[in-house]
Symmetry: C2
C-alpha cells in the first residue's frame, strides 16, 4: 500500500543543537512543525514529516484487506457503497488505495461518559480487539444529529446512560465482545460520521452480538442517530 | 500565503449521477473521500480535494499576521520560539509559510464540562471573539498530563468545576473577555498541545484579564497542566 503512513524523521545535515531546538519546539507533537532551513535561519536543512498517530485508525473499504465483508446494512441515512473487503490500518492514509472505494478515519481517545465506578467494572471484564479466536467483526459508523451535539454534557450523559443504559447493555456482553471506539467528529478533515465502533467476537458469540445491537437501537440515545451503517465481517482464524 | 486551504471541488467531466453518488457516499463530509476514475469504474474523472473545516483554526507564529506579539511567557514546560506576529486562519495549513516559525492547529467543538444551567448562564453573558474594540488578545496553548486523561468524566468534572471553579471564575469576567476554545488532542496529526484558548478584550480590560488567568493558575486543575505558553498580542483597532 503506497500511501501507508510511516514514522519518518529526516534531517539531512542537522546538528544536535538544531535537533533539540525542534524537540523543544514541538514537544511530543513533533509532527506539528515542519521546519525548513529558511525558517530557522540555519545552514542545515531539517525536514520533519508526519509521525504516524498510533491512536488514529483508517478503515479502507475495497477489494483487499484482512476482513471479508459478509453483510452490509444501512440502518439510517445514506448508505456506504458496498465493498468486498475491509482493511484497518494504524495511522493516516492520505490517498485512497487503487482498489478501494472509500476510507473512513477515527481516533481513539479518553472516555467521555463513563464514571469511575463504571470504568472499574468495565476494566475488570473487557478484552482487547484482536483475540486470535475472534474471527467475526462488525464495523458500525454512526453520525448523531445537531440536537445531540447542542446538548450539554449532563444532558447527553442522562440520555446515554440513565435513560438508555448504553454502558449497562454493553457490560452484559463482556468479555465475549471486544469493542474499540474511534472518534471522527473533531478531525481536521471533515468526516461523514462522528464515530466508528469496531467489535470482534467468536462465531459462537455472533447471535449475542445481534441481540446487543438490536437492544441498543431501541434506546432513546438512538433517536439522535441520523446516519448509521453496519458492516459484518469474517477473517481466517490466526 | 501559498498553502492557505481553499474550498476546492473539482470535477473534470462529471455527470449529475456521479456527483450524487459522491454526495451519498460522503454525506456532510465530502472531504473524507477522494474518488478517482478507476475506483468508481466510471469514464469521467472526479477529484475531490479537502473542503476546509470551518471549525478548524491554524495559528501561525512568524513575522506576519494581524496580531503583533507583545509578550511571551512560558508558564510550564518547553517554550515556543519567540515570534513577532501571529496569524489566525480558518482551516488547515498544510505547509508552514515561508516567514513562519511554527504553526498550531485546533478545532472548536461541543462543550465537554458545562451543565445546562451553566451553559444558559454563560449564553446570557458571553460574547464572540472579534469585537472591533477588542484590540488586545491572548493565545494560551496548554497540554495536560497523562494523569488527567486517565481520569473519568466525573473525576475530571469534579476537579474542573466543583474544586477549581473554572466556569465560575470565567463567568466573572463576562462579557468583558471573549473566549474561543480549540481542541488539538484528537487531530490526526499529533499536536504539542491539547488545547489552544484564544481570548480578546479591550485595553481597559487588560488588567482584569491578568487577574483571571492568575486565579485559574492557582487551582487544582492547573496541577495537571504540564505545558503552557502564554502569548499576549495587540492589533490596530478596526
Amino acid at each position: 500500500m503506497r500511501d501507508h503512513p510511516e514514522t519518518t524523521f529526516t534531517h539531512s545535515a542537522s546538528t544536535l543543537g538544531r535537533r533539540s531546538f525542534i524537540q523543544r519546539l514541538t514537544g511530543i507533537g513533533a509532527a506539528a512543525c515542519i521546519a525548513s532551513q529558511k525558517n530557522l535561519a540555519a545552514k542545515d536543512t531539517i525536514t520533519m514529516q508526519t509521525i504516524a498517530n498510533p491512536r488514529l485508525f483508517t478503515f479502507i473499504g475495497g477489494n483487499s484487506g484482512t476482513w471479508q465483508v459478509t453483510a452490509r446494512k444501512t440502518v439510517i441515512g445514506e448508505p456506504l457503497p458496498t465493498v468486498k473487503r475491509l482493511d484497518i490500518v494504524i495511522g493516516e492514509v492520505k490517498e485512497l488505495p487503487e482498489d478501494a472505494l472509500w476510507k473512513l478515519a477515527g481516533v481513539t481517545s479518553h472516555e467521555r461518559y463513563v464514571t469511575r465506578a463504571e470504568k472499574d467494572q468495565l476494566a475488570a471484564k473487557q478484552v482487547t480487539i484482536g483475540r486470535p479466536e475472534a474471527t467475526h467483526a462488525a464495523m458500525i459508523p454512526i453520525r448523531k444529529n445537531s440536537k445531540w451535539w447542542a446538548m450539554t454534557q449532563d444532558e447527553r450523559r442522562a440520555i446515554f446512560e440513565e435513560s438508555s443504559h448504553h454502558i449497562k447493555i454493553g457490560m452484559k456482553y463482556l468479555p465475549a465482545i471486544a469493542r474499540r471506539l474511534h472518534h471522527c467528529r473533531d478531525l481536521a478533515e471533515p468526516q461523514p460520521f462522528d464515530f466508528i465502533t469496531l467489535f470482534d467476537y467468536t462465531k459462537a458469540d455472533a447471535n449475542a452480538f445481534e441481540d446487543m445491537v438490536a437492544e441498543l437501537r431501541t434506546t432513546e440515545e438512538w433517536k439522535y442517530v441520523e446516519r448509521e451503517t453496519d458492516l459484518r465481517m469474517v477473517r481466517e482464524s490466526k
